[in-house]
């Protein structure tokens, strides 16, 4: 296991010993695609390394958030086999939908479709279940074509595995509030450098709540459990965690 992991990392051009020093160069040479700041700490290269395979589980928002940084930077992304994907949510999470392509139904033989996408699209998210042998061939294809393969669901030995353990929203006050702020508790793992387990709480949608924090009166709620602790402190602590430090 460890030997094969090293072997494939070598194939990716990753030298484990020099990894930390090479990261900066990789960013500037475009070998690592950018991600939203909160996600950088979860990924061993501070972004999505071209040629790698990342599996995501438990949260569609987490999947979409992974596409945000790169599409905003001019990369193309495709989502395969997810007809129910919420494109508006993707846009809200920062995905540039001008460069987002959907292949909702890749057909009975999705292999050639996904392979063709890996040939020209920078990020290919695959949400349809595939036989492990085909999945491995696509992992190899992504490596060869310098694309990033993001598997939504189980995938045989990905380079990085991100699992959302819970998705929570700001509590609603019957009729008075609305969903604004989303907290996703993510555990990461994987092979090689990514193998060190991390646990991070991501928060999406902070900017919207800053307005009520400044201008609004806190709702005089009769439900203290819903009102939560001091929200300013909560926000500050979350900012710290989203920089990628293990919680």
């Amino acid at each position: 296991m460890s030997r094969s992991a090293t072997a494939s990392l070598a194939a990716l051009g990753v030298n484990p010993a020099s990894e930390l020093t090479s990261t900066t160069t990789d960013h500037t040479t475009g070998r690592v695609l950018p991600v939203r700041g909160e996600l950088a700490g979860l990924l061993p290269w501070g972004g999505l390394r071209r040629g790698s395979t990342v599996s995501v589980g438990g949260s569609t928002s987490l999947l979409l958030a992974l596409l945000a940084g790169a599409t905003a930077d001019g990369c193309w992304a495709a989502v395969v086999g997810l007809p129910q994907v919420g494109v508006l949510a993707a846009a809200e999470l920062g995905v540039s939908v001008r460069r987002l392509v959907l292949v909702p139904r890749p057909g009975a033989d999705p292999g050639p479709v996904i392979a063709a996408l890996l040939d020209g699209i920078d990020l290919v998210a695959v949400a349809c279940p595939l036989p492990p042998s085909l999945a491995r061939r696509l992992t190899a294809r992504a490596r060869q074509r310098r694309a990033v393969l993001i598997a939504f669901g189980a995938w045989p030995s990905p380079d990085v595995r991100l699992t959302a353990e819970s998705v929570r929203w700001n509590p609603l006050h019957d009729g008075a509030e609305t969903l604004r702020r989303q907290q996703i508790s993510v555990r990461s793992g994987g092979r090689g450098e990514a193998g060190k387990p991390k646990h991070v709480v991501l928060t999406f949608g902070e900017e919207e709540i800053e307005l009520p924090l400044v201008a609004g009166d806190p709702p005089a709620s009769d439900e203290p459990a819903d009102a939560g602790p001091d929200r300013v402190d909560e926000l500050a602590s979350r900012r710290a965690t989203t920089r990628g430090r293990p919680a």
């Binding site: 928002s61 494109v87 949510a89 939908v97 139904r105 890749p106 479709v113 006050h173 609305t178």
Partner: protein, 500 residues
Amino acid sequence: MKDTRLLAVWCPDWPVVAACTATGTSQHVPVAVLDGNEIVSTSAVARAEGIRRAMRKRLAESMCPELVTFEHDPQRDARFFEPVAAAVEELAPGIEVVQPGLVAVPARGPVGYFSSAEQAAERIVDHIAARTGTEAQVGVADSLFAATKAAHRNVIVPPNRTAEFLRPLGVHELDAPELVDLLRRLGLKTLGAFADVPENAVASRFGGPATRQHRLARGLPERPLDKRRPAPELTVAETFDEPVERIDSAAFAAKILSERLHENLVNRSLACTRLGIHARTEHDEELHRVWRAAEPLTPRGIADRVRWQLDGWLTRERLTAGIRTLTLEPVEVVNGTALQLGLWGHDDERAVRALLHVQGLLGPDGVLMPVLDGGRGPKEQVRLVPWGDERVPVRNPDHPWPGRLTRAPATLADDPAELKDAHGDEVGVTGRLELTARPRSLVVKGKAQEVTAWAGPWPVDERWWAPDPHRAARVQVQTPDQAFLLIRRDQRWFLEGVYD
């Protein structure tokens, strides 16, 4: 000055007529043609029952249980329209099909031949009825838009009186729902009132696309006249080793040739607005038809029209042999920079090639691109168009949309749901947009969950303040570990999305 008078021949409720003809259904029963869940065309009998365009299927069926419904099929519409187009052409050469159900022809020819526009109209209507048994109406005016509106009313508009004819018509005659909505709110209820707004004010106040609608309202042609004649080398032709006799091989030929034509046009930054389709059979029968489009044709738009036309010829004309040669001629072209395809630069070439490859594997509908649109719900704010088609919003996303939610669900759904109060009774929405009780449980797909908190309701319909028993509204609902978006339509709850 060029004579722009046009004669339009219009067959009312064409999608219904085509569906009834195809299935042998009587047109004297209530019939509706649906695109998905929404009614796009109705028979006169259905209208008498109160069924209207844009109505939801469920509502229509509850109002009229014996309603016969058909799925909308543009290919069927085109196939059964070909004999009608052929009948018009026998009296008025040079016709152009605008869409199945509507043809236009320069009025000069038939009006001169039959000595008056009234005579020409009468002869054309009689001839269509005799040849095809189809009911048609004729209109004459100075622009295609006005001639179409005249045909809807069976009116001959005298020369230079087109603007006057259009003035009293309602702004809803413009095929631009968002603009119409805005004009009405501004108190501009007629085309005349809209036409009186100065052109530069229209561009700055309503945006570029509205200037085209403004031209229409003033009775001007949809595009300024362009005398440029397309270069003959743009025309593409194909001679088949095996004569094309079947629809499926015709569809394949249509696709290949359309792509070649489109490539020719794109290389010169052009797009086609009038497309000539010529076919020659093995026995040297010549077939020819011109399609006219309001907007520049996309590769798919070209392929659709070629396929429809071939289908029409192969199924409705009694050809003695298969088609040997097919020629596509761009009869009118415009500068193609408006087409989205032209906006993609060099860096994107690899992506473009990959997507074309996937479209080759799955068909044009297999690869979709989202367009962010105006609207309130998470679904109506996103329109998915086949990759390569134009991506223009139909509703302005920058307008205020009261009732629009701050966050959209990452997963969309459309499942019946139950929202119940502490007594197990259904929670409703009152006329004042309030919930009738505090929701305590949510049931989706047979699974019950405790509701810990909720938000809303938000209006779905703009006229939510009007008294209406069929109120539509949205609520967000939280359970101990999940959040959901629900919508209430026709007095029932549906799960619209999961905030996962």
